[in-house]
C-alpha cells in the first residue's frame, strides 16, 4: 500500500477494501514510527485527522466520493488550517492556531481529503535545505546525513519516506522542485496565478505559487485538479475555465520538441547529475521526442534578480508580524517601538532577518531604482528569453539542481553558496512559468537526481503528459530507500 498511487488508493476506498479511517490510521502509524528520525512533520493531530477520515467515509458511503476523498494528504505548514497550529516554520508563529482555512485547504476539505499533518519547512519558506526551520532540520530519507532540500523539505521527505501518499508545497524560487529532486519524488509548480494564495503565508507575493508533491505525474495531476482554481480573495488569481490536468497523460510523445538550454549544460552541473539527465533525455528520444538546442542568455542574472525582488517583497510582507494581533510577542519591553523591535528580533531566525534587511535596504530611499526597478527590468529580459526559446520547442528540460543532496550543515553558514543551489529553478518563478521535477535516477552516494521540465504558460497538462510517459518506461519514481521498505 505504501507505493500505491492515488488512483489505486481511491479504488481501494471505493470498493470498501479499506476505509478512510483505516487508511489514515495506517499512515499515522508510519508517521509515528518514522517522524522522530526524519522530523518531516511539525504538527500531527490524530484526532482531527481521524475525524476528517470519518467524514470522508460518510461521503463514500453516500456515493459522494471524489478522486481524493478519504486519502491522507500532508499539508505544508505555510497553509493556514483552521484549528491547526500553523507555524510557517517560525518561532514568530509558534503559537498561531489559525482561525481560518487557506483557499487550498478549503478545496482539499471540499474534496473530502484527510489532512495527515502539517509539514516542516524552512522558516517563512526562506531556505533551500530545511535548516532554517525553528523546528529543526528535516532529514533526507535516502541518507540521513543529507538535507532534503527546501523550503518544502518536510513535504518532500513525507512523500519520499511514504509517510503520506502526497503533499502540498509552495515554490517561490524552487521550493517544490528542488526538494522533490533531492528526495527522489515528483513535484510541479504551476503557472503563477493558478493556485490560490489566499491563506498561504506570503513570502514574495509576485513569485509564490502553491503546488502538489507526490510520487508520480499521474498523482500530481489528480492533486492539481483539486488545488487549481480561481479565488476572488487572491488578487492575482487567474480567472480561467477549470481543466482536467490528467486529460493528456496517455498521449504519445512522437514529435515532441525538447529544448535543451545550452546555458544549463555548461559549468556548474556536477558530473553525476549530468549523466542522469543525459540518460533521461536519451530515454525521451526513444519515446519519439526530438531535441533542439535553445538559449536562455540571461540565466546567470536570475539569482541576482531574485535576491533583490524576493527579499524586497518579503520585507514588506513580513512587516505585519509586530506582536500585536497574533504571533510572538517578546516577554519584556519598555515602549511600543521596543516591543516591535524585540518581538521581531526574537521571533525571526537569522535567514529571515537577513532577507528582511536586504529587502529593506533595496527599497530604501535612493536605492529603489538601482535595485528594485533594475531587477524588474531584468525580470522581463529573463521572461523574454523563455518566450524566444518556446518559439523553437514545446518543452524545456535540464537538471533541477546542480548537485545531488548536500550534507546537513555543509552550506548553512554560507548564504551565497546556499542561494546558488537554486540556480536552475529560479528563472521560471521570475517568468511566472510552470516548472516540475521528476526522479531521473541516482548520482553520487546513491542520492536522487531530478529532471527539470519547464513548460509554457498553462502547459501543465502537457508537462504532466511528458512526465507520465517517462514514468511508464522507467521506475525511478517508485523506488524508495531500502531501509524504509516495511
Amino acid at each position: 500500500m505504501l507505493n500505491s498511487s492515488l488512483k489505486q488508493l481511491s479504488t481501494l476506498l471505493a470498493t470498501k477494501k479499506i476505509s478512510s479511517v483505516e487508511l489514515t490510521g495506517e499512515f499515522l502509524k508510519r508517521v509515528k514510527a518514522l517522524n522522530p528520525d526524519y522530523n518531516a512533520f511539525i504538527t500531527v493531530d490524530e484526532k482531527m485527522s481521524l475525524a476528517q477520515a470519518q467524514t470522508a467515509d460518510a461521503m463514500i458511503a453516500s456515493g459522494q466520493a471524489q478522486p481524493l476523498t478519504g486519502i491522507p494528504i500532508a499539508q505544508k505548514d505555510i497553509f493556514c488550517t483552521k484549528g491547526w497550529l500553523t507555524t510557517c516554520g517560525s518561532k514568530m508563529l509558534s503559537n498561531f492556531v489559525s482561525p481560518y482555512d487557506a483557499g487550498v485547504i478549503e478545496r482539499f476539505n471540499a474534496a473530502g481529503a484527510v489532512n495527515i499533518g502539517k509539514t516542516n519547512m524552512d522558516e517563512f519558506a526562506m531556505g533551500s535545505s530545511n535548516e532554517t526551520s525553528f523546528y529543526g532540520p528535516v532529514k533526507n530519507p535516502w541518507d540521513i546525513t543529507a538535507v532534503p532540500g527546501g523550503s518544502s523539505g518536510g513535504s518532500a521527505c513525507a512523500v519520499a519516506a511514504r509517510m503520506a501518499p502526497a503533499a502540498t508545497g509552495t515554490d517561490t524560487g524552487g521550493s517544490i522542485r528542488q526538494p522533490a529532486a533531492l528526495c527522489g519524488i515528483s513535484g510541479i509548480k504551476p503557472t503563477y496565478g493558478l493556485v490560490s494564495r489566499y491563506g498561504m503565508i506570503a513570502f514574495a507575493s509576485s513569485l509564490d505559487q502553491g503546488g502538489p508533491m507526490a510520487k508520480s505525474a499521474e498523482d500530481l495531476a489528480l492533486m492539481l485538479n483539486v488545488m487549481a482554481g480561481f479565488d476572488t480573495r487572491d488578487s492575482t488569481s487567474l480567472q480561467r475555465a477549470p481543466e482536467d490536468y490528467a486529460r493528456d497523460l496517455a498521449g504519445p510523445l512522437q514529435g515532441l520538441r525538447i529544448g535543451l538550454p545550452k546555458e544549463y549544460f555548461v559549468a556548474g552541473m556536477s558530473a553525476d547529475v549530468a549523466r542522469a539527465v543525459e540518460a533521461a533525455i536519451a530515454e525521451y528520444r526513444k519515446l519519439g521526442a526530438e531535441t533542439v538546442e535553445v538559449s536562455l542568455p540571461n540565466t546567470k542574472l536570475s539569482i541576482p534578480v531574485y535576491y533583490v525582488l524576493a527579499p524586497a517583497e518579503a520585507s514588506s510582507n513580513l512587516s505585519r508580524f509586530d506582536g500585536v494581533r497574533y504571533g510572538y510577542r517578546a516577554p519584556e519591553y519598555t515602549d511600543l517601538n521596543d516591543m516591535y523591535q524585540k518581538s521581531r528580533a526574537q521571533g525571526f531566525g537569522a535567514e529571515v532577518k537577513r532577507r528582511i534587511l536586504i529587502g529593506t535596504y533595496v527599497l530604501s530611499h535612493g536605492y529603489y531604482d538601482a535595485y528594485y526597478i533594475q531587477a524588474q527590468k531584468l525580470r522581463r529580459l529573463i521572461a523574454q528569453d523563455f518566450a524566444a526559446a518556446f518559439a523553437q520547442c514545446d518543452i524545456i528540460m535540464g537538471p533541477t539542481t546542480p548537485t545531488v543532496a548536500f550534507a546537513l550543515g555543509e552550506k548553512s553558514s554560507n548564504p551565497v553558496q546556499m542561494y546558488l543551489s537554486d540556480t536552475y529553478t529560479i528563472a521560471t518563478n521570475l517568468a511566472g512559468l510552470p516548472g516540475m521535477s521528476i526522479p531521473a535516477g541516482f548520482g553520487d552516494n546513491n542520492r536522487p537526481v531530478g529532471l527539470h521540465i519547464i513548460g509554457n504558460y498553462f502547459a501543465e497538462a502537457q508537462m504532466l503528459n511528458v512526465a507520465h510517459q517517462y514514468q511508464q518506461v522507467t521506475d525511478w519514481h517508485i523506488r524508495m530507500p531500502d531501509k524504509l521498505i516495511a
Binding site: 503563477y192 541576482p304 515602549d335 528580533a345 537577513r354 535595485y371 527590468k377 529580459l381
Partner: protein, 95 residues
C-alpha cells in the same frame, strides 16, 4: 558599492529589528557577500526595458463595494497576545 556598519544599523531600525553590535557585524559580512552577487545586475543596460511585475497581462480586479466578511472579533482576538474589552493592548504611546 560597499556597505557600512551604520547602513546595517539604519536598515535594521527601518525594519524594526533590534540588532546587537555582534549581530550587526555578522550581518555586514553576509550582506556584503550577497550584494556582491546582486551587483552583477548593474552590468546590463536596461534603459529601453519596461519593468515587469506580473507575467500575465492582467489588470487589478475590482469588486462591488459591499460587506463580504462577518464580525469574528472574538475568534480573532482569542489568539492575540494581549486584549481587553475587545481591544488589542500595546504599551502606552501617548504620555
Amino acid at each position: 558599492m560597499s556597505l557600512s556598519l551604520d547602513d546595517i544599523k539604519r536598515v535594521a531600525n527601518l525594519a524594526c529589528i533590534e540588532v546587537s553590535e555582534t549581530e550587526a557585524a555578522t550581518a555586514l559580512i553576509q550582506l556584503s557577500g550577497i550584494f556582491g552577487l546582486i551587483e552583477q545586475m548593474q552590468a546590463v543596460d536596461t534603459s529601453a526595458i519596461e519593468p515587469m511585475s506580473h507575467a500575465q497581462d492582467v489588470v487589478q480586479r475590482l469588486r462591488d463595494d459591499t460587506v463580504t466578511e462577518s464580525d469574528q472579533r472574538e475568534l480573532f482576538q482569542s489568539i492575540a497576545p494581549k486584549t481587553e474589552v475587545g481591544l488589542y493592548l500595546v504599551p502606552k504611546v501617548i504620555e
